[in-house]
Symmetry: C2
Subunit: 141 residues, 2 copies
DNA sequence: GTAAAGGCGACCAATCTGGTCCGATATTAG
DNA sequence: CTAATATCGGACCAGATTGGTCGCCTTTAC
């Protein structure tokens, strides 16, 4: 019953969580020095999933990117300079360290993994890609 | 019954099809000028899925990366210089043009898409990423 | 004490990917 | 002619990941 189910490419894509995280971080960055924003406020302001947003923020807090204040008037604020927060770091926090080559997908392991002349070049590629994501900071995005 | 089901990150990853394509292309590159390899041979030599390999090769043939020879002694060979075949091109052929930002996931469309100051920066990032993949040719991988 | 906030774990539904199984046709070597 | 190859198409399903929700608990402001 859906009009256009354009199949979407999942590969080489940012996860939704990372996207949400970037949205939230960007909002926190625009905050005054003493202010804070609650997860609920962030969610309602940007239309993010209400129950998922706190989880994302919590991960960021664990990782030390944002600082959480408990209590009734609590909320989140940036814990570090916006210049030191990169897209790559956010991705690592929320999705884990990605591997470009699909050598191990879940339980499946590629049977050529022992002797494959593709792994190392792809590893280099991956590092280059992450470097790109690492050069993009919260400040200049 | 599986020992370590390490959850794998699907994001920022090459699809299996693209991986297979690279494996096959690399093998074709090592071929003599007049020789060719059949999909069946490629599959058995590298342990690729027998029924999927012809499909992948067919896509590459459509795109003009490899040349298919019909008939009993047919097979595939590279149709272009290895220097002109890039990882990015293979990905585009097999998975489509990836978008870094998950603005549209299938039917879902992000509700902030109209006014989002994240899209354009992420678009730039995406272009940079694809440039990285575009600089890696079949020759120097 | 109460309300509002964060933290955490478990769970379920939607979705995508990969892989398989079909079938039919054109082409070429031998 | 026969066999083996490529081409094209589609339908289908099982596995895995992702995203989203629910529920309960702790902490803090007022
Ligand atoms: S073929 Fe090589 S690169 Fe691709 S998955 Fe297997 S081991 Fe990794
Ligand atoms: S928030 Fe912006 S970048 Fe992220 S999906 Fe929505 S529109 Fe795209």
């Amino acid at each position: 019953m859906v009009a256009f189910t354009r199949p979407t490419v999942q590969m080489l894509r940012l996860s939704r969580k990372s996207d949400y995280a970037l949205v939230a971080l960007k909002a926190l960055r625009a905050l005054g020095p003493g202010d804070a924003l609650s997860a609920r406020e962030l969610a309602s302001r940007f239309g993010l999933p209400v129950d998922l947003t706190p989880k994302v923020l919590a991960r960021l807090a664990q990782a030390g990117l944002v600082q959480a204040t408990l209590g009734k008037t609590g909320g989140y604020r940036l814990a570090r300079d916006a210049e030191s927060i990169t897209v790559a770091e956010v991705v690592r926090i929320l999705d884990g360290d990605p591997e470009l080559a699909p050598c191990r997908e879940g339980i499946l392991e590629c049977n050529r993994i022992a002797d494959c002349d593709l792994r190392h070049p792809l590893g280099n590629l991956q590092r280059e890609m992450m470097n790109v994501l690492d050069r993009m900071t919260l400040a200049n995005l």
